[in-house]
Amino acid sequence: MELTPRHREALAELINIGYARAGKSLSELTGERIVLNAPMVEIHSIDVVRVALNELVKGEVASVHQVFSGAVAGHALLLVSNEAADVLTSPLVAGVPSNQQQTARREALTEIGNILLQASMGLCGELLQVHVSFTVPRLEIETIDDMLNSICVNNQELQFAVLVRTRFELQNSQVSGYIVVILGVTSFSRLLDELDRWEARQLSV
């Protein structure tokens, strides 16, 4: 299964629009200017995704994981280092008593992930005219391997995955994170169909 250059370009453009919205949301939350790099769209076996993510993020990462369902279904993840998590959540937990800081930081990071992922995936769904629903976001602190194992266990379809990765940077903080979307083969195929329809609509306007 391969992405053609035309599909890759269309998907990157679509995700760019979605991630711009996500960046705006993150900027509103943190009060800092957010720089979002152009998304890279690739299709890999899950083992290659594992290697690629391990190269991007070392050791344990904080992951906010949200499952989305609909005609196109999959897993959306916000991945940040512990240091980045602290920077992201600090403005939101200022004033919280020290004995409640850890819980407040977890809740804040989960909500940041929720807003970022729904903004980006929701806008992509909106543009493709495919409604997607989201589950409650889950925050985990674990290695990339453990994270992927928990997603892929008992799911043979996820042997292949579309990896969409975008690096975002808080301009004043030198921290970054990644948004990753993992789709199964069936959803990937549907996504290509929806991309064709989207392109056709664009050309007919």
Binding site: S25, Q118, S133, V136
Partner: protein
């Protein structure tokens, strides 16, 4: 909300929200769309079944117009899109309490 003079009752999930609504009949209900167990839209439908005049505002990070349209069709009085400022919640609740729609 309490600093703005409102009395606030919290529920941890949709089921508890339904129980508390039946007991105290609050003037306005603020529901997250994404919740454990029942979704906010499911709770909205049940609340409106319980009380067709229930004033319900949904809070969501979901930017899809179809989500807002579904909420409107299900009888929501308004929607607040995340991220939001405290003042935005207060303004929305105040508007809905007065019977005005609040669709941001």
């Amino acid at each position: 909300m309490e600093e703005a003079g409102y009395s606030v009752d919290e529920a941890k999930d949709g089921m508890e929200a339904l129980e508390r609504y039946a007991l105290s009949r609050p003037q306005v209900v603020l529901l997250d769309v994404v919740m454990d167990g029942m979704t906010g839209l499911e709770v909205l439908a049940k609340l409106r079944g319980l009380d067709p005049k229930a004033k319900v505002v949904l809070a969501t990070a979901d930017v899809q117009a179809s989500t807002a349209a579904t909420a409107r069709e299900a009888g929501a009085a308004g929607i607040i899109c995340k991220p939001f400022q405290r003042q935005r919640i207060i303004q929305t609740i105040a508007a809905v309490e007065k019977g005005e729609p609040a669709w941001s």
